[in-house]
């Protein structure tokens, strides 16, 4: 899936979980969910569930643990999309 498209979807998913709306508007590959967007770590599992629902994929515990930045998240979403298509 197109990176711009994924970032657009991520912004929408993350919006309720952050108060740093200016940072969210300008997220890039290096944006860190906890350090930059000040997301409560307990909410990371909710964001992963929302991503699963939005993209129709499943994300295992190992992958979930890596989803701390925008670039890592995009990578995992693309991997799962490709994997699911191949199945």
């Amino acid at each position: 899936m197109d990176k711009v498209e994924i970032i657009g979807a991520l912004k929408e998913i993350i919006s309720p979980y952050t108060e740093e709306h200016a940072v969210l508007e300008n997220i890039n590959d290096n944006t860190d969910f906890i350090a930059d967007l000040k997301i409560n770590s307990a909410n990371l599992v909710d964001i992963v569930l929302d991503i699963e629902e939005k993209f129709g994929i499943t994300i295992d515990n190992d992958a979930m643990g890596k989803m701390l930045t925008v670039s890592a998240t995009i990578e995992i979403i693309n991997e799962r999309l490709a994997g699911d298509v191949g199945q």
Binding site: P16, Y17, A42, N43, V45, D46, L49
Partner: protein, 426 residues
């Protein structure tokens, strides 16, 4: 040791017949009922198809919860508790603590029977469907019993004692007494005390199955809850929350706070399920002892009590409660205090009953009125044999008075009694 005097400086309520203090005051003065027909109970085959729950819309909830919290909120008890609690805090003229440091002198004791039963059901269903992952991060906070005090303390930034008590239908009165003792002994300046109860079939079902709820008034919801009436046939289940800010008199005066009333004493005890006391029936000896000890702790004589707000649920036990009050206070039929029960209007709000009824008690003392007993035109003859009929007013009485006793009794044979006094400035 010097003990603090403890006063009430803020009120909040989320009741079936009013979800603001002003609407609730109007409702109790005018005998407005919050009991309604419940299609959901009808659908599920309940014997009692009527109940009383607060009516709140999403716009109101948005004033207390963030959009993120609302996204997964499925715990009416937490919603009611937060509304009543935050309203009481605001009514007391208090603000949430600074963003970076809690208010070390403020805490909350906010009781409940269960928490987030709808959320719990949802979570159990996901788990049974092998979808444990789908629970997300919000199940624990909404289903832990202390969820309500945790939500409130987070919103207000409380740094003193934050806990949740639970003692069945005595919960709300007990929470106020616990907060009272805490301030009295100098451990906090302010405590938000109250209690809440979830709504719905999963809370009320157990009572329906025990046949303690009425099934004779399904066609006339407002007539269903009949404390002290000859035609009382069981209680009407309810829900909601009540809250009040308790404060040391010194702190209240220092900040020029409005003072509703003073708490001058109280007592909690248990009948130990001994004698005629059981899991579900009160031991009369313990009830009377609780009232006697409360009056003693207030440093007044029993004849100084002018008004009683009873527990009086509209079951066969109402006459026994009157007998207990009469025995504890040692008064004649004609000199019995005025007595009323809020449950005629709001049903039995279970773990929220005590706190909602304490709010109603404080309003009566502060504004000088005694609300009428709804649905009690036909006073139970067993009660009439104990006390004069005019002690059970069916219409509003506007009257200034000084001392009110309020008691709540709960399953497990537990009792709580609180003594409130009108506060005169100076």
């Amino acid at each position: 040791m010097i003990e603090n005097r403890v006063v009430i400086t803020g009120l909040g309520v989320c009741a079936p017949n009013g979800t603001t203090v002003s609407d609730f005051t109007h409702a109790i003065k005018h005998g407005i009922s919050g009991v309604r027909h419940q299609p959901e109970l009808e659908r599920l085959g309940f014997s009692c198809k009527i109940a009383a729950a607060p009516e709140i819309d999403e716009n109101r909830v948005q004033q207390y919860f963030t959009p993120l919290e609302m996204k997964s909120l499925d715990s009416p008890g937490i919603v009611y508790g937060v509304i009543a609690g935050l309203d009481a805090w605001k009514d007391a003229g208090l603000e949430p603590a600074d963003r970076n440091e809690p208010d070390w002198e403020s805490g909350t004791i906010f009781g409940t029977g269960t928490s987030g039963i709808d959320k719990f059901r949802w979570a159990i269903n996901r788990i049974d469907e092998l979808q444990i992952r789908k629970l997300g991060s919000t199940v624990v906070a909404q289903t832990m019993a202390s969820g309500v005090s945790a939500f409130i303390s987070g919103k207000l930034g409380m740094g003193n004692w934050v806990t949740t008590n639970s003692s069945a239908c005595a919960t709300g009165t007990e929470s106020i007494l616990m907060a009272f003792e805490h301030i009295k002994s100098g451990k906090a300046k302010r405590m938000l005390a109250g209690s809440t109860s979830d709504s719905g079939p999963y809370i009320w079902g157990g009572f329906d199955a025990m046949k303690v709820c009425t099934f004779k008034h399904n066609g006339q919801p407002e007539k269903g809850s009949r404390p002290m009436s000859a035609t009382a046939s069981g209680f009407v289940p309810g829900s909601g929350a009540g809250a009040m800010v308790l404060e040391s008199l010194e702190s209240a005066i220092a900040r020029g706070a409005k003072i509703y009333a003073e708490i001058i004493g109280g007592h909690t005890n248990s009948g130990g399920q001994r004698g005629s006391g059981t899991m579900t029936a009160p031991n009369p000896q313990a009830v009377q002892r609780c009232i006697v000890k409360a009056v003693e702790s207030a440093g007044i004589g029993p004849d100084e009590i002018e008004v009683i707000n009873g527990h009086l649920t509209a079951t066969a036990k109402d006459a026994l409660e009157i007998e207990n009050w009469k025995g504890a206070l040692g008064c004649s039929a004609d000199h019995f205090p005025y007595i009323n029960s809020l449950k005629g209007m709001v049903g039995h709000c279970i773990s929220a009953a005590g706190s909602i009824e304490c709010v109603a008690s404080v309003l009566q003392l502060h504004e000088g009125f005694i609300f009428g007993n709804v649905n009690c035109e036909d006073l139970n003859p067993e009660i009439n044999a104990l006390i004069a009929k005019n002690r059970v007013p069916v219409k509003l009485i506007n009257k200034r008075f000084n001392v009110l006793a309020k008691a709540s009794f709960g399953f497990g044979d537990v009792n709580a009694c609180i003594i409130l006094k009108r506060f005169e400035n100076g």
